[in-house]
Amino acid sequence: MTQSPEGPVSRSQGPVFVGNRTPRPESLADVLERVLDKGIVIVGDIQVRLLDIELLTIKLRLMIASVDRAREMGINWWEGDPFVTNLEEGDDSGASDRELELQQRVEALERRLGSDGQEQQLEGQPERQREGEETRRG
């Protein structure tokens, strides 16, 4: 996965240079991160895999906003969401615990999504209700 022109990453070679010093173009993530002003992050349909078990397919929207702007809009899911934070945490040991935890979360989310749908129908204001929910959920 990580290659430098000098060869594969080795534990005793010091830092690996990527970008202009190699034929490899800058990663799109790095370019977007810089060019879009703290530009958020994300990209289409993302399959989350853990230990080769497909647990979830989440759809994240590509959002272009500064973090502050996003906060104004009530979007801050990446900060509080334990799922996102766990992904970033990067500690894959104890995966069976994680797996169980994730399954519980998926179930909780599904329940929540299900009950939101009912509320919307009951109150007869689907659009407004949904927006409000998203903001709070954020």
Partner: protein, 272 residues
């Protein structure tokens, strides 16, 4: 500027570039093969391009901004122009979207910023930005031997969890030290949020994502320090450092809101 076009601002350079042949400063074409030129702005020069309004105007941004297939070539085109300009002169990159109705509107809006822009341009002059990512490639926490009883198992689980917490704290300490080491040989440094796997396209979790403004004459020092912290601190703990650059100083183009530099950075944080 032609009818039916908008002006796209790439970046800001010192006005001296107006005195040399334009082709020595800007590449012939930018986003979507459109022409790139220089526009005078007092003591500054703005690198601009003329883009067809249909396809790249405000309406297009509203419609396509969430479409990676549309966004990628725009972002890369913007970046490539800035790379080329940065090779020729000091440049303050502007961020996307940077669309103006015409030259006059751009001059009116950016003209009010002339002084802070000039100051910032002086700040980044003679510097490059270098990006640093640190990935965790190998968890050094020890595997427990197979448990022979339920009680053993529980004991081992407890020890494992404690071990993981300790390993995480230790990585935290090492990353903080590594970042501080790099910041020491940089004019300014910023910590960005580590990219998640979906964005980085890597399985190895990213633990540190920082950018450093490094004086060109301090470059070797920066690399030497990177080598030192990478070998001395990170690699023994299963972490690998990647350096990208030189970048135009994207992360240092806007003055810090509170006027502080790296001094107040709390240091990197892994997870919560």
């Amino acid at each position: 500027m032609a009818e039916g076009h908008v002006v796209h601002a790439y970046g800001v350079a010192p006005a001296v570039v107006l005195d040399v042949p334009e082709h020595k400063v800007v590449p012939p074409t930018g986003i979507a093969g459109t022409p790139v030129r220089l526009l005078a702005l007092g003591e500054l020069a703005v690198v601009v391009g003329d883009l067809p309004e249909e396809g790249f105007g405000e309406a297009a941004w509203r419609e396509h901004a969430e479409d990676p297939d549309w966004l990628e070539p725009v972002a890369r085109g913007h970046h490539e122009v800035l790379q080329a300009v940065a090779a020729a002169t000091d440049v303050l990159p502007l961020r996307l979207p940077g669309i103006y109705r015409d030259d006059a509107e751009l001059q009116g809006l950016l003209g009010g910023q002339e002084e802070p822009l000039t100051r910032r341009l002086q700040f980044v002059a003679g510097h490059d930005e270098w990006g640093v990512h640190v990935h965790l490639v190998e968890d050094t926490a020890e595997e427990a031997p197979e448990a022979t009883s339920g009680r053993d198992y529980l004991m081992q689980r407890k020890a494992q969890v404690a071990g993981r917490d300790a390993a995480r704290e230790e990585r935290q300490r090492l990353l903080t030290e590594a970042y501080a080491g790099l910041a020491q040989v940089s004019t300014d440094s910023v910590l960005n949020r580590p990219q998640d796997r979906a964005l980085s396209g890597r399985e190895d979790p990213m633990l540190l994502n920082s950018a450093h403004l490094v004086a060109k004459e301090a470059q070797q020092q920066f690399f030497a320090r990177a080598d030192e912290v990478s070998r001395g601190l990170l690699e023994p703990a299963g972490m690998v450092m990647e350096i990208s650059g030189p970048w135009p100083p994207y992360n240092f183009a806007a003055p810090a809101a509170d006027g502080n530099g790296a001094a107040d950075d709390p240091g990197p944080t892994e997870g919560r």
